[in-house]
Structure formats: structure tokens, C-alpha cells
Symmetry: C2
Subunit: 244 residues, 2 copies
Amino acid sequence: MIALHSPKQNRLLDALPVTDYDRMLPHLEWVPLELGLSLYESGTQQEFVYFPTASIVSLLYVMQDGASAEIAVVGNEGMVGIALFMGGETTQSRAVVQSAGHAYRLEGDFLKNEFERGGPLQHLLLRYTQALITQMAQTAVCNRHHSVEQQLCRWLLLSLDRLPANELTMTQQLIANMLGVRREGVTEVAGRLQMAGLILYNRGKITVLDRPRLEARVCECYAVVKRESDRLFSRKAAIAVHDS
Amino acid sequence: MIALHSPKQNRLLDALPVTDYDRMLPHLEWVPLELGLSLYESGTQQEFVYFPTASIVSLLYVMQDGASAEIAVVGNEGMVGIALFMGGETTQSRAVVQSAGHAYRLEGDFLKNEFERGGPLQHLLLRYTQALITQMAQTAVCNRHHSVEQQLCRWLLLSLDRLPANELTMTQQLIANMLGVRREGVTEVAGRLQMAGLILYNRGKITVLDRPRLEARVCECYAVVKRESDRLFSRKAAIAVHDS
DNA sequence: CGTAGTTTGTGCGTTGGCGTACATACGGCG
DNA sequence: CGCCGTATGTACGCCAACGCACAAACTACG
């Protein structure tokens, strides 16, 4: 098999001008991301940043009493480790692999240097950060106002958008941890969705059967996040990056 | 009265190296921020950015059905309008004056240019954005897991940290909008806190009487946000900015 | 093929916050 | 002073989600 994978499978890397891309290419390292792997822990220095290709990473916040909540989710549209170029060095959150796959990783110092050049890469990363902020804000709102069912739908759709298939590997317990709700709550809602024929659930494997009807049940939060994420790679944004 | 106000009352501006500060000074305009004023609406172009001195601005998200939730709060430690240099042009949230006062405002284009220079100002603004991200993440977690009482305490303390006095002007209805809860819920909790002698409530005026005991009731979220906010202006961070 | 471990399903009672409706207080203004 | 608008207090039923306890189904492995 030759080149079944390429950094271009990550949309951020793909959006870079050739010169910038070529400069980074030799430093990009193709690494597997196993399910449950923690890319960084709360409060620790981050040595690498990751550009997922066909994998999903959750930014998860774990509280003192063990309760947790997902803050945002990163797939092939993004990057894990923004704190590195934002200058904070550390984050309060953990980054956990939610769906196994691969990513291109990059030495943190190298990225920081590239970022400091200030050109297209910087603009692209900042715009991505802006999209991430939108997602986090929307998560906060969704946590406050929407039902578990709506949130599960949102979570499923956001995950699906970041995967090539319509299937994902994830136990109900893990989903509950992400959403910060009870496992039983997820069981109940998932059962309802399965009854309605929207999904198929089987011991850690979820298959989405009827995406349109799933989108009909989700709250507005999903659309907002998706729109912002898409906007990042729209023609206009791409031009702005190349011009800079 | 001469110079009872100065841009240095905003901690971000104050943290800038002299050369950068002097370059910005002639463009800074001292403006009053009236209670309830909206500095920008969701989805609109932002002409100015604001550096509050003795005022508080809430980043508020309003949903289609009118329900709302505060995403983060900005005082003299920050800036309103980060989307401008992050490149998204617009935000999904509104910025509403929560506590009247003043701010220094700056032409958006001017700030963008200064930001593009890439020096200390850029680093400072990015670090601030990082602190803001922490606050938003913590808001999401708090919304999921903590009680109205804990959230009200957090909100009071965060607001107080951004004001010179121990008193703030704010009706229970407005607080409820911020927290995204019922007005009655706020009434109940505020009543409890008043009974306990922690606060004094009187027709839109809250006076905090016993801050230590308020801190004893608050959830961990407050400390996390405060620590991150303080870290922004720590000696070490200041040195990093000046070196750059 | 049987057993141990994991995953999912179900059934309680409990409760925090919601929606609604209305009652009181305060405060400014004619 | 009396009135009206705004702010706050109280009460009641309701329901989503919680915590807990346990049953059932599947899977892997010895």
C-alpha cells in the first residue's frame, strides 16, 4: 500500500499554502491514536500537537470529585494542543481519544516557531481556535438548557461529521462521561432512538441509520457549531489565509 | 479633576511595554458604558474593541426561543472583541454591559494591525484569550454539574473581582438571564444567602458582607477561573511578554 | 462449555429546578 | 398622598435527571 494516508486528510494541514505545507511536511509524524489514550493531562506541559486524520479527540474536563464533562471535540477539521501557541503552556482540560485512528503529530516547539512567523499558518490556527471557542460556548449553553436526548443527538452528529463512516465505537458509559450525565440516562435515550429506528446500538458499536431524522431531533446547538466549523474552510476563508 | 482615569486601569493595557502602550495611547478613547448597552450583537461586524476599566461586560448567548446564558465575563482584566484578531470577524454571542462604568475603546482595524506586528501585544492578547477559554470551559462544566446556589456564588465572586467596590447593581431578573435560570430560583437562593448574613439584597443592589463565607459555598469553578486570570498577570507572564 | 467480566436494561424513590400564578413591597412621580 | 411600575417573595404541581440496586444479555477466555 502506498500513501493511503496523507497529512492532507487533516483539513487544517490541507488548507495551508504549499510553501508552508512543504516546510512542515518533514516534521509531521504519523502516529496511531488508540481508544482512551490521553494526549495530554490537565496542567501538564505539552510536547506535541496533533492533527487528527480519521480519529476523534475529546477535550474533557474532570472535576475533583471525578465528575466530568466534554468541552469540545476535535477531528480532522482541527488540532489538539492550541494552548501551545496561545501561550498558556497548559490547559485545565484533558485530551482523550474518543475514536481510535491516526493523527499527524508535530513537535510543539516547531509549531510555535512556525506560528510566530505570523503568516497563513497563524491565521488559520487562530481562525480554528475561534471555531473551537464557538463550540465551547455552545456546549455551555447546551448543558444549561437542553435535554439529554438533544445532547446525545448533538454528540452523535458532531462525532459523525468527523468520521468517514456512519458507525462509531463507544460504550454508553463513555458517552455518559462525555456528556456528564448518568449512564442510565444514555441507555434510556439510546433505547428510544433505537426504537424509533434512528440508530442501532450493539455493545459499544453505534450505527446511525437515519441521519435526517436525527438532525430533526437535535437542538440548534449542533447547527451553530457545524456552520462555524464549515465557515473555517469556506472559499472566502481560504482566500484570506492565502492572501496573508 | 485631572486624570482620575487612565488606560492603565485596564490590566491588559497596563501590562504592555511602554513603546507599544505609547503607540496605542492616542487611539484609545474613553467611553462610558451604560447598564444594558450592547457592545455587539450576535453575527455582526465589530467596529471597536473595548478595554473596560471599572465596568463589567458579559458575553451572553441568546437562543432562538429567547433563553440565554452567560458564556464569560470581562472586566478590567480583559478585552471585549477578541473575534476581531482571531479572524472570525463575528461571534455567536452578544456583549452586554452588566455593570455600568467606563472603558477605553479602540478602532478595530487599528488593533488588528497592531496585533499583526506579532510582538508583546499579540502575545498578551493570545494569553488573555487562553484565560477566556478557560473561563468558558469552566462555565460549561459548572452549568452541567453545579447547583444554582453554587453558580450564583461563583457569579457574585467573579463580578466582585472585577469591581473596586463590594457592591453591584443588578436585579434578580438580570442575574437569572445571565445564569440561564428562573428568576424565582435566584430569589430563593439570594434569600438564603441573605438569611445567612453573606449578602444584603435591596432592589437591584447587592452588597457582599462576608466574602470568606461566600467563597466557602462556591464550587471549585470559581477558583479555577480566578487562578487562570491571575496567572495572566503574574511576574513570570509579564516577563515573557516583555521579552518577546 | 462454563465462568467471569463487561455492557446494557429496568425499576424504584428522591429532588432540584421549571412553569405558572399571584401576593407583597418599594419608590418615584404627578 | 395616592398611584403605578418595577422588584421581590411565596406557593404548588410537575417532570427530567439523579442515585442506587439489581437483572439480563453478551463476549472472551481458560
